[in-house]
Protein backbone atom coordinates (compact mmCIF):
# COMPACT_ATOMS: atom_id res chain seq x y z
CA UNK A 1 0.00 0.00 0.00
CA UNK A 2 1.21 3.47 -0.84
CA UNK A 3 1.97 5.70 2.13
CA UNK A 4 0.17 9.04 2.31
CA UNK A 5 1.89 12.25 3.32
CA UNK A 6 0.95 15.93 3.49
CA UNK A 7 0.27 17.95 0.36
CA UNK A 8 2.96 20.37 -0.79
CA UNK A 9 2.96 24.02 0.26
CA UNK A 10 1.52 26.68 -2.09
CA UNK A 11 2.90 30.16 -2.80
CA UNK A 12 1.76 32.97 -5.11
CA UNK A 13 4.70 33.75 -7.38
CA UNK A 14 5.33 35.26 -10.81
CA UNK A 15 4.36 33.27 -13.89
CA UNK A 16 7.12 34.93 -15.87
CA UNK A 17 9.91 32.38 -16.43
CA UNK A 18 12.78 34.80 -15.83
CA UNK A 19 11.20 36.30 -12.73
CA UNK A 20 10.19 32.92 -11.35
CA UNK A 21 13.67 31.51 -12.02
CA UNK A 22 15.30 34.33 -10.04
CA UNK A 23 12.84 33.79 -7.19
CA UNK A 24 13.39 30.02 -7.26
CA UNK A 25 17.16 30.40 -7.22
CA UNK A 26 16.94 32.73 -4.22
CA UNK A 27 14.92 30.05 -2.44
CA UNK A 28 17.45 27.32 -3.31
CA UNK A 29 15.14 25.44 -5.69
CA UNK A 30 17.09 25.80 -8.91
CA UNK A 31 20.17 24.54 -10.74
CA UNK A 32 21.06 27.74 -12.59
CA UNK A 33 19.06 26.97 -15.76
CA UNK A 34 15.66 28.53 -16.51
CA UNK A 35 12.76 26.94 -14.63
CA UNK A 36 9.16 26.61 -15.77
CA UNK A 37 6.82 27.88 -13.01
CA UNK A 38 5.06 24.91 -11.35
CA UNK A 39 1.53 26.30 -11.35
CA UNK A 40 -1.16 24.31 -9.61
CA UNK A 41 -2.78 23.58 -12.96
CA UNK A 42 0.37 22.21 -14.56
CA UNK A 43 1.29 20.17 -11.52
CA UNK A 44 -2.21 18.70 -11.39
CA UNK A 45 -1.90 17.66 -15.04
CA UNK A 46 1.39 15.89 -14.28
CA UNK A 47 -0.07 14.17 -11.21
CA UNK A 48 -3.04 12.94 -13.26
CA UNK A 49 -0.66 11.52 -15.85
CA UNK A 50 1.12 9.48 -13.19
CA UNK A 51 -1.95 7.44 -12.34
CA UNK A 52 -1.11 7.93 -8.66
CA UNK A 53 -2.51 10.12 -5.90
CA UNK A 54 -0.82 13.47 -5.39
CA UNK A 55 0.01 12.69 -1.77
CA UNK A 56 1.31 9.17 -2.41
CA UNK A 57 4.86 8.66 -1.30
CA UNK A 58 7.34 7.27 -3.81
CA UNK A 59 9.87 6.70 -1.08
CA UNK A 60 12.04 8.46 1.45
CA UNK A 61 15.03 10.26 0.01
CA UNK A 62 18.30 10.94 1.81
CA UNK A 63 20.16 12.79 3.26
CA UNK A 64 17.05 14.83 4.18
CA UNK A 65 14.89 11.80 4.86
CA UNK A 66 11.92 13.56 3.23
CA UNK A 67 9.14 11.61 1.57
CA UNK A 68 8.98 12.30 -2.14
CA UNK A 69 5.29 12.56 -2.94
CA UNK A 70 3.94 12.32 -6.46
CA UNK A 71 3.02 16.01 -6.23
CA UNK A 72 6.58 17.01 -5.31
CA UNK A 73 7.92 14.96 -8.20
CA UNK A 74 5.38 16.64 -10.48
CA UNK A 75 6.37 20.15 -9.35
CA UNK A 76 10.03 19.43 -10.04
CA UNK A 77 9.21 17.75 -13.35
CA UNK A 78 7.29 20.85 -14.47
CA UNK A 79 10.20 23.09 -13.51
CA UNK A 80 12.63 20.83 -15.41
CA UNK A 81 10.61 21.01 -18.64
CA UNK A 82 9.67 17.35 -18.69
CA UNK A 83 6.51 16.06 -20.34
CA UNK A 84 3.59 14.80 -18.25
CA UNK A 85 3.70 11.65 -20.39
CA UNK A 86 6.91 10.71 -18.57
CA UNK A 87 5.39 10.79 -15.09
CA UNK A 88 5.03 6.99 -14.74
CA UNK A 89 8.67 6.60 -15.74
CA UNK A 90 9.86 9.35 -13.40
CA UNK A 91 7.82 7.90 -10.54
CA UNK A 92 9.51 4.54 -11.09
CA UNK A 93 12.91 6.25 -11.18
CA UNK A 94 12.31 7.94 -7.83
CA UNK A 95 11.03 4.68 -6.37
CA UNK A 96 14.16 2.84 -7.54
CA UNK A 97 16.46 5.54 -6.16
CA UNK A 98 14.70 5.37 -2.80
CA UNK A 99 15.26 1.62 -2.47
CA UNK A 100 17.69 0.99 0.44
CA UNK A 101 19.80 -1.26 -1.80
CA UNK A 102 20.64 1.84 -3.85
CA UNK A 103 22.15 3.67 -0.83
CA UNK A 104 21.02 7.13 -1.90
CA UNK A 105 22.35 8.47 1.39
CA UNK A 106 25.85 7.53 0.30
CA UNK A 107 25.36 8.69 -3.28
CA UNK A 108 24.13 12.13 -2.29
CA UNK A 109 26.73 12.87 0.39
CA UNK A 110 29.92 11.20 -0.86
CA UNK A 111 33.10 12.94 -1.98
CA UNK A 112 32.91 10.83 -5.16
CA UNK A 113 31.41 12.00 -8.43
CA UNK A 114 28.62 9.44 -8.46
CA UNK A 115 25.27 10.10 -10.08
CA UNK A 116 22.26 7.83 -10.59
CA UNK A 117 22.09 6.62 -14.19
CA UNK A 118 18.85 5.15 -15.49
CA UNK A 119 18.43 2.57 -18.26
CA UNK A 120 14.96 2.13 -19.71
CA UNK A 121 14.03 -1.27 -21.12
CA UNK A 122 11.00 -2.41 -23.06
CA UNK A 123 8.49 -0.86 -25.45
CA UNK A 124 8.07 2.23 -23.26
CA UNK A 125 11.41 3.51 -24.61
CA UNK A 126 9.48 4.75 -27.64
CA UNK A 127 6.53 6.23 -25.71
CA UNK A 128 8.83 8.13 -23.38
CA UNK A 129 11.15 9.17 -26.23
CA UNK A 130 14.39 7.99 -24.65
CA UNK A 131 17.43 7.98 -26.95
CA UNK A 132 19.09 4.64 -27.61
CA UNK A 133 20.84 5.11 -30.94
CA UNK A 134 23.56 7.66 -31.80
CA UNK A 135 24.25 9.87 -28.79
CA UNK A 136 22.33 7.56 -26.48
CA UNK A 137 24.23 8.72 -23.41
CA UNK A 138 23.87 12.40 -24.24
CA UNK A 139 23.57 14.62 -27.27
CA UNK A 140 20.65 13.05 -29.07
CA UNK A 141 17.42 15.05 -29.18
CA UNK A 142 15.04 13.27 -26.83
CA UNK A 143 13.02 13.63 -23.65
CA UNK A 144 15.86 12.15 -21.60
CA UNK A 145 17.58 15.41 -20.52
CA UNK A 146 14.37 16.92 -19.16
CA UNK A 147 13.47 13.68 -17.39
CA UNK A 148 16.98 13.46 -15.99
CA UNK A 149 16.85 17.09 -14.90
CA UNK A 150 13.56 16.46 -13.10
CA UNK A 151 15.25 13.77 -11.03
CA UNK A 152 18.20 16.07 -10.36
CA UNK A 153 15.84 18.78 -9.06
CA UNK A 154 14.18 16.15 -6.86
CA UNK A 155 17.59 15.32 -5.42
CA UNK A 156 18.13 19.00 -4.65
CA UNK A 157 14.68 19.94 -3.42
CA UNK A 158 13.47 16.77 -1.74
CA UNK A 159 16.55 14.69 -0.94
CA UNK A 160 18.38 17.85 0.12
CA UNK A 161 21.57 17.27 -1.89
CA UNK A 162 23.38 20.61 -2.00
CA UNK A 163 26.98 20.86 -3.22
CA UNK A 164 29.37 21.95 -0.51
CA UNK A 165 26.72 21.58 2.18
CA UNK A 166 25.24 18.10 2.34
CA UNK A 167 27.13 16.84 -0.72
CA UNK A 168 30.88 16.58 -0.26
CA UNK A 169 31.41 15.57 -3.90
CA UNK A 170 34.78 16.98 -4.85
CA UNK A 171 34.08 17.44 -8.54
CA UNK A 172 30.42 16.65 -9.02
CA UNK A 173 29.51 15.30 -12.43
CA UNK A 174 28.09 16.80 -15.64
CA UNK A 175 25.19 14.38 -15.23
CA UNK A 176 24.24 16.06 -11.96
CA UNK A 177 22.54 18.75 -14.08
CA UNK A 178 20.46 16.88 -16.66
CA UNK A 179 20.88 13.39 -15.31
CA UNK A 180 21.89 10.32 -17.28
CA UNK A 181 18.89 8.61 -18.80
CA UNK A 182 19.25 6.19 -21.66
CA UNK A 183 17.63 3.11 -23.18
CA UNK A 184 18.67 -0.03 -24.98
CA UNK A 185 18.53 -0.60 -28.72
CA UNK A 186 16.76 -3.86 -28.11
CA UNK A 187 15.94 -4.44 -31.77
CA UNK A 188 19.69 -4.64 -32.46
CA UNK A 189 20.65 -6.61 -29.38
CA UNK A 190 21.34 -10.33 -29.62
CA UNK A 191 20.56 -10.81 -25.94
CA UNK A 192 17.42 -10.33 -23.84
CA UNK A 193 17.03 -6.76 -22.62
CA UNK A 194 18.50 -5.64 -19.32
CA UNK A 195 15.00 -5.43 -17.87
CA UNK A 196 14.18 -8.98 -18.98
CA UNK A 197 17.44 -10.28 -17.53
CA UNK A 198 16.46 -8.63 -14.26
CA UNK A 199 13.04 -10.27 -14.28
CA UNK A 200 10.80 -7.59 -15.83
CA UNK A 201 8.97 -8.57 -19.00
CA UNK A 202 7.34 -5.18 -19.74
CA UNK A 203 8.76 -1.70 -19.63
CA UNK A 204 11.12 -1.13 -16.76
CA UNK A 205 13.85 1.20 -15.58
CA UNK A 206 17.06 0.25 -13.80
CA UNK A 207 18.99 2.67 -11.61
CA UNK A 208 22.78 2.40 -11.41
CA UNK A 209 25.16 4.50 -9.34
CA UNK A 210 27.88 5.50 -11.79
CA UNK A 211 30.98 7.63 -11.50
CA UNK A 212 30.93 8.91 -15.05
CA UNK A 213 31.48 7.63 -18.55
CA UNK A 214 34.76 6.63 -20.15
CA UNK A 215 35.33 5.59 -23.73
CA UNK A 216 36.82 2.21 -24.68
CA UNK A 217 38.20 2.07 -28.22
CA UNK A 218 39.38 -0.84 -30.32
CA UNK A 219 39.92 0.17 -33.93
CA UNK A 220 40.64 -3.40 -34.98
CA UNK A 221 37.80 -5.13 -33.21
CA UNK A 222 38.27 -8.24 -35.25
CA UNK A 223 36.30 -10.65 -33.11
CA UNK A 224 34.24 -10.89 -29.98
CA UNK A 225 36.98 -12.41 -27.86
CA UNK A 226 39.34 -9.51 -28.59
CA UNK A 227 36.67 -6.88 -28.01
CA UNK A 228 35.68 -8.40 -24.69
CA UNK A 229 39.33 -8.56 -23.69
CA UNK A 230 39.80 -4.86 -24.40
CA UNK A 231 36.64 -4.02 -22.44
CA UNK A 232 37.50 -6.29 -19.53
CA UNK A 233 41.08 -5.04 -19.22
CA UNK A 234 39.80 -1.45 -19.35
CA UNK A 235 37.26 -2.04 -16.58
CA UNK A 236 39.91 -3.11 -14.11
CA UNK A 237 42.00 -0.03 -13.42
CA UNK A 238 43.81 0.92 -10.25
CA UNK A 239 41.74 4.00 -9.46
CA UNK A 240 38.38 2.26 -9.82
CA UNK A 241 36.40 2.80 -6.61
CA UNK A 242 36.06 -0.93 -6.10
CA UNK A 243 39.82 -1.42 -6.18
CA UNK A 244 40.09 0.76 -3.10
CA UNK A 245 40.33 -0.84 0.32
CA UNK A 246 37.26 1.11 1.48
CA UNK A 247 34.91 -0.47 -1.02
CA UNK A 248 33.20 -3.77 -0.28
CA UNK A 249 31.40 -4.16 -3.60
CA UNK A 250 30.35 -2.18 -6.66
CA UNK A 251 28.41 -2.82 -9.85
CA UNK A 252 29.91 -1.97 -13.22
CA UNK A 253 27.88 -0.91 -16.27
CA UNK A 254 29.08 -1.29 -19.86
CA UNK A 255 27.38 0.01 -23.01
CA UNK A 256 28.32 -1.87 -26.19
CA UNK A 257 27.48 -0.67 -29.70
CA UNK A 258 25.22 -2.88 -31.84
CA UNK A 259 28.00 -3.90 -34.24
CA UNK A 260 30.24 -5.09 -31.46
CA UNK A 261 27.29 -6.76 -29.77
CA UNK A 262 26.85 -9.02 -32.80
CA UNK A 263 30.56 -9.87 -32.86
CA UNK A 264 30.63 -10.58 -29.14
CA UNK A 265 27.50 -12.70 -29.46
CA UNK A 266 29.16 -14.84 -32.11
CA UNK A 267 31.86 -15.72 -29.58
CA UNK A 268 29.78 -15.65 -26.41
CA UNK A 269 26.15 -16.49 -27.23
CA UNK A 270 25.01 -16.16 -23.62
CA UNK A 271 25.20 -12.90 -21.67
CA UNK A 272 26.34 -14.94 -18.67
CA UNK A 273 29.41 -15.94 -20.69
CA UNK A 274 30.19 -12.29 -21.43
CA UNK A 275 29.85 -11.41 -17.76
CA UNK A 276 32.04 -14.35 -16.75
CA UNK A 277 34.77 -13.20 -19.12
CA UNK A 278 34.61 -9.55 -17.99
CA UNK A 279 34.79 -10.73 -14.37
CA UNK A 280 37.92 -12.76 -15.08
CA UNK A 281 39.64 -10.03 -17.11
CA UNK A 282 39.06 -7.00 -14.89
CA UNK A 283 41.82 -7.68 -12.40
CA UNK A 284 45.09 -5.92 -11.65
CA UNK A 285 48.22 -7.61 -10.31
CA UNK A 286 48.80 -6.66 -6.68
CA UNK A 287 52.47 -5.90 -7.46
CA UNK A 288 51.35 -3.03 -9.67
CA UNK A 289 49.77 -1.22 -6.71
CA UNK A 290 51.89 1.14 -4.62
CA UNK A 291 53.40 -0.68 -1.69
CA UNK A 292 51.46 1.44 0.79
CA UNK A 293 48.14 0.09 -0.54
CA UNK A 294 48.94 -3.62 -0.69
CA UNK A 295 48.55 -4.65 2.94
CA UNK A 296 45.17 -2.97 3.31
CA UNK A 297 43.90 -4.55 0.08
CA UNK A 298 44.97 -7.98 1.31
CA UNK A 299 43.48 -7.36 4.75
CA UNK A 300 40.15 -6.32 3.24
CA UNK A 301 39.98 -9.52 1.21
CA UNK A 302 40.30 -7.90 -2.19
CA UNK A 303 43.27 -9.98 -3.35
CA UNK A 304 43.03 -13.48 -4.81
CA UNK A 305 45.63 -15.38 -6.84
CA UNK A 306 47.94 -12.39 -6.69
CA UNK A 307 45.38 -10.06 -8.25
CA UNK A 308 43.04 -7.36 -7.00
CA UNK A 309 39.60 -8.27 -8.32
CA UNK A 310 37.21 -5.59 -9.47
CA UNK A 311 34.16 -7.80 -9.00
CA UNK A 312 33.03 -10.32 -6.43
CA UNK A 313 31.19 -12.33 -9.06
CA UNK A 314 30.24 -12.17 -12.77
CA UNK A 315 26.85 -10.75 -11.80
CA UNK A 316 28.59 -7.55 -10.69
CA UNK A 317 28.63 -6.25 -14.27
CA UNK A 318 25.71 -5.32 -16.52
CA UNK A 319 26.07 -4.99 -20.28
CA UNK A 320 23.60 -3.03 -22.38
CA UNK A 321 23.44 -2.57 -26.15
CA UNK A 322 22.93 0.95 -27.47
CA UNK A 323 24.70 3.74 -29.29
CA UNK A 324 25.21 4.29 -32.99
CA UNK A 325 26.40 1.98 -35.70
CA UNK A 326 29.76 3.71 -36.00
CA UNK A 327 31.40 0.69 -34.39
CA UNK A 328 34.80 1.24 -32.72
CA UNK A 329 33.64 2.17 -29.21
CA UNK A 330 32.16 0.92 -26.00
CA UNK A 331 31.56 2.97 -22.87
CA UNK A 332 32.23 1.93 -19.32
CA UNK A 333 30.36 3.49 -16.44
CA UNK A 334 32.32 2.52 -13.33
CA UNK A 335 30.15 1.80 -10.34
CA UNK A 336 30.05 3.54 -6.99
CA UNK A 337 31.02 1.53 -3.93
CA UNK A 338 28.59 -0.32 -1.74
CA UNK A 339 25.36 0.01 -3.68
CA UNK A 340 23.38 -2.22 -5.99
CA UNK A 341 21.35 -1.51 -9.13
CA UNK A 342 17.59 -1.48 -8.62
CA UNK A 343 14.90 -2.13 -11.25
CA UNK A 344 11.27 -1.03 -11.22
CA UNK A 345 8.49 -1.88 -13.62
CA UNK A 346 6.68 1.12 -15.07
CA UNK A 347 3.27 0.99 -13.47
CA UNK A 348 1.76 2.67 -10.42
CA UNK A 349 1.88 -0.57 -8.43
CA UNK A 350 5.61 -0.83 -9.00
CA UNK A 351 6.23 2.68 -7.71
CA UNK A 352 4.91 2.09 -4.21
CA UNK A 353 7.52 2.13 -1.45
CA UNK A 354 8.59 -1.32 -0.40
CA UNK A 355 7.82 -2.35 3.19
Amino acid sequence: MTAQTAVATRLDLSEDVATFTREALSRGWGDGLPLIPPTEELVAEFVASSGLDAASSLGRLYPSGADCTVELLAANAVMAGASPVAMPLMAAMVSAAADPRFDLAGINTTTASVVPAFVVSGAGRHDFNIAYRHGALGGAVSAAPAIGRALRLVMRNVAGQVSGETSASVFGNPARVAGLVTAEWEEQSPWPSLGERRGFSGTSVTAFGVLGTANIIDTLGTDGAEIVEVIGRSLGYMGNNNMDKGSSFAHQLVAVNPIWAQKIHATYPLMEDVQERLYALSTVRIEEFPASMRDALVERGKVRDGHVWLMDSPSDVSVIVNGGTGNLHAVMLPGMSNLLPVTRGISPADCSPRP
Partner: protein, 187 residues
Protein backbone atom coordinates in the same frame (compact mmCIF):
# COMPACT_ATOMS: atom_id res chain seq x y z
CA UNK B 1 1.90 57.60 -21.56
CA UNK B 2 3.48 54.12 -21.38
CA UNK B 3 1.95 51.34 -19.41
CA UNK B 4 4.36 48.76 -18.00
CA UNK B 5 2.75 45.36 -17.67
CA UNK B 6 3.19 43.83 -14.25
CA UNK B 7 4.17 40.15 -14.27
CA UNK B 8 1.13 38.01 -13.45
CA UNK B 9 1.28 35.83 -10.43
CA UNK B 10 -0.19 32.40 -10.01
CA UNK B 11 -0.44 29.84 -7.26
CA UNK B 12 2.64 27.59 -7.39
CA UNK B 13 3.30 24.21 -5.86
CA UNK B 14 6.46 24.55 -3.78
CA UNK B 15 8.91 21.91 -5.09
CA UNK B 16 10.87 21.60 -1.88
CA UNK B 17 9.95 19.51 1.12
CA UNK B 18 12.92 19.48 3.40
CA UNK B 19 11.39 18.31 6.63
CA UNK B 20 11.37 20.38 9.77
CA UNK B 21 12.85 18.17 12.45
CA UNK B 22 11.92 18.45 16.07
CA UNK B 23 14.81 19.86 18.04
CA UNK B 24 16.25 16.99 20.03
CA UNK B 25 17.52 17.34 23.60
CA UNK B 26 21.15 18.27 23.98
CA UNK B 27 23.53 15.38 24.48
CA UNK B 28 24.34 14.76 28.11
CA UNK B 29 28.01 14.96 29.20
CA UNK B 30 29.91 11.72 29.64
CA UNK B 31 30.85 12.54 33.25
CA UNK B 32 33.40 10.55 35.22
CA UNK B 33 35.29 8.13 33.04
CA UNK B 34 36.41 5.66 35.68
CA UNK B 35 34.38 2.47 35.58
CA UNK B 36 32.53 3.46 32.42
CA UNK B 37 32.32 1.33 29.28
CA UNK B 38 33.33 3.38 26.25
CA UNK B 39 32.15 2.19 22.84
CA UNK B 40 34.48 2.91 19.94
CA UNK B 41 32.68 2.66 16.62
CA UNK B 42 34.94 1.74 13.73
CA UNK B 43 34.12 1.47 10.04
CA UNK B 44 35.33 -0.40 6.98
CA UNK B 45 36.87 2.61 5.32
CA UNK B 46 39.71 4.09 7.34
CA UNK B 47 42.78 2.19 8.48
CA UNK B 48 43.99 5.39 10.19
CA UNK B 49 40.88 5.38 12.40
CA UNK B 50 41.67 1.84 13.51
CA UNK B 51 45.10 3.01 14.68
CA UNK B 52 43.72 6.07 16.44
CA UNK B 53 41.00 4.15 18.24
CA UNK B 54 43.53 1.49 19.18
CA UNK B 55 45.64 4.20 20.83
CA UNK B 56 42.62 5.83 22.47
CA UNK B 57 41.57 2.44 23.85
CA UNK B 58 44.89 2.18 25.72
CA UNK B 59 44.48 5.70 27.09
CA UNK B 60 40.89 5.09 28.12
CA UNK B 61 41.85 1.92 29.94
CA UNK B 62 44.67 3.79 31.68
CA UNK B 63 41.99 6.26 32.83
CA UNK B 64 39.95 3.47 34.38
CA UNK B 65 37.40 2.92 31.60
CA UNK B 66 36.79 -0.27 29.69
CA UNK B 67 36.47 -0.34 25.93
CA UNK B 68 34.07 -2.06 23.53
CA UNK B 69 34.87 -1.99 19.80
CA UNK B 70 32.21 -2.24 17.13
CA UNK B 71 32.82 -2.18 13.38
CA UNK B 72 29.95 -0.85 11.31
CA UNK B 73 29.03 -3.32 8.56
CA UNK B 74 28.24 -2.64 4.93
CA UNK B 75 25.09 -4.51 4.06
CA UNK B 76 24.95 -5.68 0.48
CA UNK B 77 21.37 -4.73 -0.18
CA UNK B 78 20.22 -5.11 3.39
CA UNK B 79 18.86 -1.98 5.00
CA UNK B 80 18.92 -3.69 8.38
CA UNK B 81 22.58 -4.62 8.10
CA UNK B 82 23.54 -1.22 6.70
CA UNK B 83 21.84 0.38 9.69
CA UNK B 84 23.73 -1.88 12.05
CA UNK B 85 20.95 -4.27 12.87
CA UNK B 86 20.80 -6.29 16.06
CA UNK B 87 24.57 -6.14 16.34
CA UNK B 88 24.42 -2.34 16.62
CA UNK B 89 21.67 -2.50 19.24
CA UNK B 90 23.77 -4.94 21.25
CA UNK B 91 26.76 -2.60 20.99
CA UNK B 92 24.74 0.36 22.24
CA UNK B 93 23.31 -1.64 25.12
CA UNK B 94 26.79 -2.69 26.20
CA UNK B 95 28.28 0.81 26.61
CA UNK B 96 27.92 3.98 28.67
CA UNK B 97 29.62 6.41 26.28
CA UNK B 98 29.75 6.32 22.46
CA UNK B 99 32.69 7.53 20.38
CA UNK B 100 31.59 7.45 16.75
CA UNK B 101 33.88 7.83 13.76
CA UNK B 102 35.32 8.45 11.43
CA UNK B 103 33.76 11.23 9.39
CA UNK B 104 36.40 11.48 6.71
CA UNK B 105 34.38 11.36 3.50
CA UNK B 106 30.83 12.08 2.41
CA UNK B 107 29.10 8.72 2.68
CA UNK B 108 31.09 7.56 5.71
CA UNK B 109 30.11 10.81 7.47
CA UNK B 110 26.48 10.14 6.62
CA UNK B 111 26.62 6.67 8.16
CA UNK B 112 28.65 7.78 11.19
CA UNK B 113 26.12 10.52 11.93
CA UNK B 114 23.37 7.96 11.40
CA UNK B 115 24.93 5.72 14.05
CA UNK B 116 25.61 8.67 16.37
CA UNK B 117 21.94 9.62 16.17
CA UNK B 118 21.12 6.02 17.11
CA UNK B 119 23.33 6.32 20.18
CA UNK B 120 21.90 9.72 21.11
CA UNK B 121 18.37 8.42 20.83
CA UNK B 122 19.32 5.71 23.33
CA UNK B 123 20.29 8.57 25.67
CA UNK B 124 24.01 7.80 25.51
CA UNK B 125 26.63 10.52 25.87
CA UNK B 126 27.98 10.57 22.33
CA UNK B 127 30.89 12.23 20.64
CA UNK B 128 31.27 12.21 16.86
CA UNK B 129 34.82 12.29 15.49
CA UNK B 130 35.58 13.95 12.16
CA UNK B 131 38.57 15.24 10.29
CA UNK B 132 38.61 19.02 9.92
CA UNK B 133 37.53 18.97 6.25
CA UNK B 134 34.22 17.36 7.10
CA UNK B 135 33.10 19.48 10.06
CA UNK B 136 30.49 21.49 8.07
CA UNK B 137 28.99 18.34 6.52
CA UNK B 138 28.73 16.57 9.87
CA UNK B 139 27.06 19.56 11.50
CA UNK B 140 24.58 19.85 8.62
CA UNK B 141 23.71 16.15 8.72
CA UNK B 142 23.30 16.24 12.51
CA UNK B 143 21.04 19.29 12.25
CA UNK B 144 18.89 17.47 9.71
CA UNK B 145 18.30 14.88 12.42
CA UNK B 146 17.38 17.57 14.93
CA UNK B 147 20.68 17.51 16.81
CA UNK B 148 21.69 21.14 16.61
CA UNK B 149 24.59 20.93 19.04
CA UNK B 150 26.25 17.60 18.33
CA UNK B 151 29.44 16.96 20.32
CA UNK B 152 32.03 16.92 17.56
CA UNK B 153 35.73 16.23 18.10
CA UNK B 154 38.03 17.18 15.26
CA UNK B 155 41.22 15.56 14.01
CA UNK B 156 43.61 16.98 11.44
CA UNK B 157 43.26 16.15 7.75
CA UNK B 158 44.62 14.06 6.13
CA UNK B 159 45.07 11.02 8.33
CA UNK B 160 44.82 8.18 5.85
CA UNK B 161 48.16 7.06 4.48
CA UNK B 162 50.14 8.56 7.36
CA UNK B 163 52.58 6.41 9.30
CA UNK B 164 51.43 4.47 12.34
CA UNK B 165 53.79 6.46 14.58
CA UNK B 166 52.32 9.72 13.32
CA UNK B 167 48.75 8.49 13.85
CA UNK B 168 49.44 7.28 17.39
CA UNK B 169 50.97 10.69 18.11
CA UNK B 170 47.86 12.43 16.73
CA UNK B 171 45.68 10.16 18.87
CA UNK B 172 47.60 11.04 22.05
CA UNK B 173 47.66 14.72 21.13
CA UNK B 174 43.88 14.90 20.63
CA UNK B 175 42.79 12.53 23.38
CA UNK B 176 42.12 15.19 26.01
CA UNK B 177 40.26 17.40 23.55
CA UNK B 178 38.05 14.47 22.57
CA UNK B 179 37.24 13.79 26.22
CA UNK B 180 36.53 17.49 26.83
CA UNK B 181 34.16 17.50 23.87
CA UNK B 182 32.42 14.44 25.27
CA UNK B 183 32.11 16.16 28.65
CA UNK B 184 34.17 13.41 30.27
CA UNK B 185 35.99 13.86 33.57
CA UNK B 186 39.19 11.88 34.02
CA UNK B 187 39.61 12.17 37.80
Amino acid sequence: MTLTAMPRTARMVVPSALPERDRKPECIPAGHLKGKRVGLRRDRFWVSWDVITDEWAKLLEADGASVVFWRAPIGKGSEAIAAGGADFEEFLSSIDIAVIGLCNCGSCSMWAVHDAVGALEQGLPTVVVATEQFEPLVRTLAKQSGHLQVRLALLPYPLEGQSEDYLRGIARQHYSAMLDTAGAVRR
